[in-house]
Symmetry: C2
Subunit: 772 residues, 2 copies
């Protein structure tokens, strides 16, 4: 039995003390890349062929015998009492098998004091009733036959309006979440402002961004007696299992949640969805499997968002560029139910500054709820902070990059944590990125466009994020008698390449070919626990567990090889398909031959993620540099180049890492330039709940992204020496683009997205200046 | 990592030396029943509700999107060269998606020197071609359109004919398997016969018995890219996986074999079936899932059988009843391909006798192949041996039971093995069974029928079998955060209650309620290895592994409980849902509360079956006593009472154990009285390939079975103190019935089944005598 040790873990803001297994198998930090055959190499997705040929089964591909199709009737009003639901006409429609609502089901608690089907709707899209029918068309027709008697209530969709005393209240205790802001202060900002040569104030705004996963949210639910199996498009099969069991008041071992392939989550699929419970209820009522996939419209309307923010920023600075104080007052449009994080984190952590204060409000409004969205808080906050740093540096006549270096917090100067960073090479990223974009000659760029019709500019921004991962995460590695290997872990591959990285780690540790490893993830019944795939923690949490499991399995196999080679197991090593005597590598046995000797004495290695090393803050850093061109006649901004320099320790797979960076930058370009949820303030109705009008970037909108990977191993983070990369590329990209736009046109756009109308309006009303 | 130790294992006649894990968690032998809350109690099947409501999914219930239905075209001739297969008409039939045969597929080796689709058919029913179509009817129609050009060859279906030099040869080296008999001798039978006062010779014959599983054999095959998933009605998911991977030349980790619920195997589902490979080939060719379930006719024709035997027996005995020699010469109708075991084992092992010789022939004939059938060899051999013991005892004027006691091999007198039995209470079983049937007053029974029209008699027989189980077998026990528990093991529940017993063992060891445990079995991808479910080894092999896994999980949970209770983990115990301090049971914590404390630090206990204790032969014993009534006008035999006394150590669940005994006795009554495969010798065509004409027992044919369970713990067999019971009740039942018939009518029927025509013919030709 492994030894356990007490450690503290932080997840989604909650710190708890837990007992963590310490692996009883030593897996020392992997050495330099030359020692590695598979990890660190640019390996294409192991399941890429299945994904592109359609063999991969996504939740929406699950088709069970006698399956019904579920649809949800959603509130037409942003705020209303649901007085009655009359489903008699809908039930008469041939092919309709069940209609459920608050009026014919037991209440199931949701969002604290609300319910699954709440008798108060708080946004256009709240769940009012649901239908199961023999096909999707019949289910859709049935929705139209359900008569709902609403008593409409006053509503508010704008966060600043919602903070006023006169605003309609969503909840009894008022619209400010928790009744008060979340406040942080270190040092004294008033003292800091007093010490400053210059105090600058600015206001930045960001829009509501939708996650826009290519695969919409949805579930297939199937009861076998009292046992429920659910295929779910989720980032956290165990969260969904436990929450679903609790919602249905059944034990967790009566619920099996499976996620095979997935088309993105970005934070919107971390928790149990109402649609999942509804599918389970409809399946139980009809005694048939039920598939309930949200339509694109529903998905955009009510599966979460990155909340809009308002950021009042005040910065004190000395003439030499030293920051003396940073102050943020922010408001966060939380939506109708409790949602995601505030945006203050980068303000508190990014720069060396003794006096920092953040005051963050989250506000209830009658719109879809905010949820974690790829680097929650950081994306919004970094836009404000890094725009502000540009403003300040220009105001004091300092190069923006030099200004950032001036206020650089070194590896031993983590700002909100007494522990040093395990690694911080942001200064090297600055150099590498600046060189690539030719930062010191960027005036040439600015003057290279047609001065009248198209202007060019270059901007940059930086990023800090976590991504070090941690316990608990588990894996099993099974060696079959033909030497093929199965890896099982309860983590999820959201489409990011987790399965590939896990395959690499297992193959590397076992010393076999990648093709000999098969990986199963995302099944609560068959896989050992792993946490939600969020926070860029997956690879760094699960990876070491997989490595330990492989090491455990390998040592067991060595016992059989040792019998053959007439040595002790500890004298053996393995690489490239061979088990050999370390002191005499010519004495060897094929790995597969050793497996055959073990026969049915199945080798199952068990691995767990050990605690993070004491004494370090685990963070990842990046710096982006963008070059844009602004069409002065149309106001349209085009990104010409985007350099994304990142360091997350050893890259497990440069190819998947590059994909993450490219995807993150592309999403950020949409965030910077075009994406925004639009709600009609008069009716509360969202207006652009589709891909066409929501305007994510298309392939034609983006240039070739230019990633720079620093590959230096982080010796302190874990036994792999590497950390996550999922969220980092989302964080600085929009700010870099906004700074480049300001550089190009001499006018700063302080509100995202930087759409042509805003550019044109700014050009009309302002005098261009290069101190923007 | 657990320690490993070398041990030898024997399976299906092969002895091999392996390394076996020694559990690092101590699980001392469970004490007396009073200490146990769940194990040893008569608990109904945990999945009984699912089985009777139809919620349980058997292989034939698997329905996948776009699934096709497979059917096999089988040889119409008992021996023929398949010169060509013309499928062009079949392929034109609308709905037919593929037709495969030896002429359009790569050869796949089968039965050593034969092939999947062999160009020589060796029995009526050999696989010639296969079809996949959109429904079963179309597939059946297509079979009729396939034109096969056969060149018929001479054939032989009778084993004695087949041994003649002039017989048509099935294989180049002749019809005797291996070219010679298998011979065993200890002491000297010629010396033994010389020492005897009386030497008696008899010839016994047994028929070909079909397994007649309620669920026919079959598979559903589904490819996802290069990954094959198969639902299979099998007793050995890992055997099927590895053999299927080898047949298709793909790695084992590209094949997943799942068996959820199952309707019986009885030995006929231990290995990969041709239908499984054919389903996989059809699925690959059509790129659609294929379900291929055999029809009842196919199932009876070509999925194995208990082979017919001819047993020449010669016994030497002294006047006082001492056996001086036992000699057997047997022939075994092996079928067209290598099959099951000979019938000599009981002759060699059952009685104390210094001089024993067995000479066993297996013979190829142009019929379906023999396969292991519930107690292979022993059922046939025990009929011969125990009939012979009756003959001998009556010849020397000794009571048959007294005669058996006279030649009793005590616990330290195992006959073919120098090691003593771990437990042998057969003498107590004799006493208990004799008392129950009122053996000493059985003359009253014989005289209680109407002497002219119905005669009654009482007979008995004994049994030895293995059933001790052994490694390798593995289990995982997961404790969820709500305290519910999942158990995973790669074993199979054939319908016998394995899932129930595993649930009991896990719940008992964890100290929780049975309802808190869910068990998943029979999935090669998700479950740790366990061997085939055969040889009555399942509970005794997997049970200790489950117990160790539960103990491991419990100890891990105790670490969290110890934090709360402020004691050391080793000071804790658990029972009835509570974890308590052993020295102060009032200090306690609910099990579920401890699980909540552990949270997501998922507790996974890993358990393995340790080696069997050195120094013992692990066997199970039984004695049956039957009372029959023979209708002297019709020849019909009715079993009036059947007492079945067994000892397999501690019964894990008296209810499932009783079910096994009842099922075994009922099958044996069919074997004794009515079941037999009938082949037309002129055409080689089997004539009764259906339930009606094959004549298994029906509910109306059988009396209430009277099981007697000796519950004494076997202290030496394993940490549970119990062994298997699957096969033992099949072994002595037919002999006991045959002996009762002889007792009733004074004429011995030496050939099974004892059908009315045989009884009437015997009554006509013989003078009844009570020395039969």
């Amino acid at each position: 039995m492994p030894k356990k040790v007490k450690t503290t873990v932080e997840f989604e803001g909650r710190v708890s003390e837990i007992l963590v297994d310490i692996p009883d198998i030593e897996t020392p930090l992997w050495g330099n890349d030359a020692e590695l055959d598979i990890v660190g190499h640019p390996i294409p997705r192991v399941d890429g062929d299945k994904r592109v040929t359609g063999a991969a089964k996504y939740t929406s591909d699950i088709l069970l015998p006698h399956m019904l199709y579920g649809r949800i009737l959603r509130s037409a009003h942003p705020h209303a009492v649901v007085k009655s639901v009359n489903s008699s006409e809908a039930e008469k429609l041939p092919g309709v098998k069940a209609v459920i609502s608050a009026f014919n089901t037991d209440p199931i608690r949701w969002h604290g004091s609300s319910s699954l089907f709440d008798k108060t709707a708080r946004l256009v899209g709240d769940e009012v009733a649901a239908v199961a029918a023999v096909d999707e068309e019949t289910a859709a027709d049935a929705l139209e036959l359900i008569k709902v008697d609403y008593e409409t209530l006053p509503f508010v969709t704008d966060m600043e309006e919602a903070m006023k005393d006169t605003a309609p209240k969503l909840w009894p205790n008022g619209n400010v979440v928790g009744g008060k802001p979340s406040i942080y202060e270190r040092g004294s900002v008033s003292k800091g402002f007093a010490e400053a040569d210059l105090v600058i104030e600015e206001t930045f705004r960001t829009q509501t961004e939708l996650h826009t996963c290519l695969e919409t949210h949805g579930s297939v639910a199937f009861w076998e007696g009292d046992k429920l199996t659910v295929w779910d498009s989720t980032q956290a099969v165990f969260n969904v299992r436990d929450a679903l069991a609790a919602a249905l008041n059944i034990p967790s071992n009566h619920v099996r949640v499976i996620k095979q392939y997935m088309g993105g989550g970005f934070g919107s699929k971390l928790e149990l969805g109402k649609y999942t419970v509804i599918a389970a209820l409809l399946a139980r009522r009809t005694n048939r499997p039920v598939r309930l996939m949200l339509t694109r419209e529903e998905d955009q309307m009510n599966t979460g968002n990155r909340p809009a923010t308002l950021q009042h920023v005040k910065v004190g600075v000395k003439k030499d560029g030293t920051l003396t104080a940073i102050e943020l007052k922010s408001v966060n449009a939380n939506g109708a139910y409790l949602g995601g994080a505030g945006c203050g984190a980068p303000y508190r952590e990014m720069y060396l500054c003794a006096n920092v204060r953040t005051e963050e409000y989250a506000v209830y409004v009658n719109t879809g709820r905010s949820r974690p969205a790829r680097a929650p808080g950081h994306v919004q906050g970094t836009f404000g902070l890094e725009s502000m740093m540009d403003v300040v540096s220009r105001k004091i006549g300092m190069d923006p990059l030099e200004f950032r270096k001036k206020n650089y917090a070194t590896v031993n100067q983590a700002q909100t944590n007494p522990k040093p960073y395990s690694a911080k090479l942001l200064d090297q990223l600055y150099e590498a990125g600046a060189k690539k974009i030719d930062w010191w000659n960027r005036d040439k760029s600015r003057n290279s466009g047609d001065f009248h019709s198209r202007k060019r500019g270059v901007g940059m921004a930086s990023q800090i994020w976590g991504g070090g991962g941690g316990p608990p995460a588990y894996a099993l590695v099974k060696i079959n008698r033909d030497g093929s290997v199965n890896v099982l872990s309860g983590t999820q591959d959201l489409g990011t390449g987790t399965k590939t990285i896990i395959s690499q780690i297992a193959a590397e540790e076992l010393g076999i070919a990648l093709a000999d490893v098969a990986v199963d993830l995302g099944d609560t019944e068959t896989c050992p626990f792993s946490g939600s795939s969020g926070g860029s923690t997956t690879a760094a949490s699960v990876g070491p567990a997989v490595r330990t499991a492989a090491a455990d399995a390998r040592l067991q196999l060595f016992e059989y090889a040792a019998l053959e080679l007439k040595v002790k197991p500890e004298e053996l090593s393995s690489r490239r398909g061979k088990i050999f005597v370390k002191s005499d590598p010519q004495k060897s046995l094929p790995f597969k031959e050793a497996a055959r000797k073990a026969g049915n004495n199945m080798i199952i290695g068990k691995g767990f993620r050990g605690p993070n090393p004491d004494g370090y803050s685990l963070n990842t850093f990046g710096a982006h540099f963008a070059e844009v061109e602004v069409d002065m006649e149309t106001g349209r901004v085009t990104v010409l180049r985007h350099v994304a320099a990142h360091h997350s320790g050893r890259p497990f797979n440069p190819l998947t890492m590059t994909s993450q960076i490219e995807g993150g930058v592309i999403q950020s370009m949409g965030y910077a330039l075009s994406e925004q949820r639009v709600i009609d303030p008069a009716s509360g109705i969202p207006l652009n709940m589709n891909m066409e009008n929501y305007k994510p970037m298309t392939a034609l909108d983006v240039p070739t992204i230019e990633p720079i990977l620093l590959t230096q191993v982080d010796e302190h983070c874990n036994t792999l020496g590497g950390k996550g990369i999922g969220e980092p590329p989302r964080i600085p990209a929009a700010a870099a683009i906004a700074n480049a736009v300001a550089d190009a046109i001499g006018i700063r756009i302080r509100e995202l997205p930087i759409t042509p109308d805003k550019v044109l309006a700014a050009l009309k009303s302002s005098v261009p200046s290069h101190k923007v």
